[in-house]
């Protein structure tokens, strides 16, 4: 447990806490394009990054922002962009490049109502499946969801750590509600936060094989300009990084991309349980809805219902081990979401038990209130 010292207590907005998390994690490059409700992240980093010898640049669109983020990461700098639905759609092409070329970076999507320009100032959870499958082709990806201001800090640090450890882009899903809520939080001192950096090669450059797997399936990563000249491409490549059409090399490459995530599953799967020990019914929720769900759960407990909550922080790879144990234990589970049921479908997919899975959805740009969830819980 963290002991909040008054010195570190600050009144922060979700977007601001993401900025603090990114800077603490070592992010020194940000490229973005203005969009509500994510713009504060750009604005604040335009002030903060130059103070720490970092770089902020406003690009001509989100495609360009993502390209610049990848470029900076290839040159050895931890980098990030932040956007919302319309921009998230645009950057998907280059996000795929980061997947195939294994370039660590963090993408924040502050979700607002969609499709298209949609509801710029209302919260939504409509981009969950886009975060999973938005870029084309079969690929693994890590998606984390934040629900409180403190989460915004912690999860942003985790996002950078996971992206560096696994050489993958990591997506943080926030939403308008989390982004603009102000809370007093106690941020940990910088030296108490665990920071992970990508592993760089140490062998002589002629021995360096840029995409050679190892026991973790994560190749070491040389930055451009450090003597390990190599080729980086969005084409499927062999261990040397050169394009290949050989079936055996293609198979080995794509398999390794998945395998490194599968192997690290238990480290990547982040969930939080509340009052699950004796729970008979449970809520599975994420993002700002998880916050309403916590309140709903204690209200339900007061009414004598043995309710618990599983908050998903990792959405993908889908944290099936934690979800399965809830499904095994409980009579019924409720999955409230501000979309038509994108995660409830995942919950149903792993439900091989006698558990009743119910969804509850709002798509009207309003946050799901605690009383709506507790009302539903009472009927399960």
């Amino acid at each position: 447990m963290r002991t909040p010292s008054s010195k570190n207590r600050r009144l922060l907005q979700g977007n601001e806490a993401i900025v603090e998390g990114a800077l603490t994690a070592g992010c020194r490059f940000f490229a973005g394009y203005p969009i509500t409700p994510a713009s504060e992240i750009s604005e604040m980093l335009s002030v903060r990054l130059p103070q720490v010898n970092g770089t902020f640049i406003q690009m001509e669109d989100e495609i360009a922002s993502m390209g610049a983020v990848i470029g900076a990461s290839l040159a050895g700098i931890k980098s990030m962009t932040a956007t919302s639905g319309p921009g998230f759609s645009l950057l998907q092409e280059n996000l795929g490049f980061a997947c195939i070329a294994e370039v660590p970076c963090v993408v924040v999507d502050v979700m607002r109502g969609g499709p298209s320009t949609g509801l710029p100032t209302n919260p939504s959870q409509g981009d969950v499946m886009q975060a999973r499958w938005g870029t084309h082709g079969d690929h693994p990806i890590i998606v984390l969801a934040v629900s409180t201001v403190l989460d915004c800090f912690d999860i942003t640090v985790q996002a950078f750590n996971l992206s560096e450890a696994y050489r993958v882009p990591v997506i943080i899903l926030s939403d308008e509600m989390v982004a603009h809520t102000r809370e007093t939080v106690a941020l940990p001192p910088v030296d108490r936060v665990e920071i992970i950096d990508r592993v760089s090669p140490s062998m002589p450059s002629e021995w360096y094989v840029p995409y050679e797997g190892n026991s973790r399936g994560v190749p070491t990563m040389a930055a451009f300009g450090e003597g390990y000249r190599h080729h980086v491409t969005g084409l499927v490549h062999d261990v040397r990084g050169f394009p290949t059409q050989r079936a055996d090399e293609i198979q080995a490459f794509i398999s390794r991309l998945f395998q490194k995530i599968t192997q690290g599953f238990y480290e990547i799967q982040i969930t939080k349980s509340f009052m699950m020990d004796d729970a008979e019914v449970a809520v599975i929720a994420y993002g700002s809805v998880a916050r309403s769900a916590r309140r709903a759960m204690s209200d339900a407990r007061e009414q004598g219902i043995k309710a618990g909550l599983l908050q998903l922080i990792t959405l993908f790879p889908f944290p099936r081990r934690s979800v399965e144990s809830v499904l095994r234990q409980c009579r019924a589970v409720l999955v409230p979401e501000m979309n038509m049921g994108q995660i409830s479908r995942e919950v149903k997919r792993v439900n091989h038990f006698a558990c009743q899975v119910e969804k509850y959805n709002r798509i009207d740009g309003e946050l799901i209130r605690p009383d709506e969830i507790s009302g539903k819980l009472a009927k399960l």
Binding site: A31, G234, D238, R240
Partner: protein, 279 residues
Amino acid sequence: MTKEVTKLIHKYLRHDKKFPHVWCPGCGNGIVLGALIRAIDRLGLEKDEIVLASGIGCSGRMPVYVDFNTLHTTHGRALTFATGIKLAKPSLTVITLMGDGDATAIGGNHFIHAARRNLDLTAIIINNQIYGMTGGQHSPTTPYGCYATTATYGHIEHAFSIAELAVTAGAAFVARGTVYHARLLDELIEAGIRKPGFSVVEAMSNCHVQFGRRNQIEDPVTMMKWLRDHAVATEKARKMKPDALEDKFTIGVLADLEKPIYTDEYQKVRDRAKSLARQ
């Protein structure tokens, strides 16, 4: 001469696994590659200091053959990646290589903004007036009235002049050469890399396979002759009447200006930010 060429090949090309290359025999891309290597050699740059980033297309395949830090990005986006690299490590010499479709259709927005922004990057654009890799569809530089696989009845759109576009967008250095005028191309690329700020070198090239074949100029030699006969040196063009230049294009340096460089300016931003934070 042959010995010189062999020396350069050994010094700069990646021999392992990468040859034969993907280009058609007689393609102008090879001449641009040669010019780039000669320019780099003359500049005496270390291979470790150079990043060559390309987009997608026949031209985009170039980086894989050379022994630099090489990057083959997405279609049209080479300049965005290059921007990130240059900002992260300003000491690197960052060169991008694009096709005409790559740079001015899908990547057109990035191109004009890179020119406006003025990072110290060099953009080499191979203009073969067609989409080579995807099979001869029209590009933003396909001339009016020409034929392409998506302009079977004759092209009804009007072409961009890439170098002029770069001048208007504010590039610090703009030049145009051709694969026929190979020595001039060497010099222009060398000058482009040497110039601090955003430099554009447009290399008019031949794609006899996808462009020539559909426009009754099926062999590379005839296309080269066409380049020879339609190119006018910029100095000479200044003295010519506009109608004499009607079906011609200029070669040489079109713009060479002094503009503040982004990374230098950003260093000032950092200094200001730090001194304000201390107050």
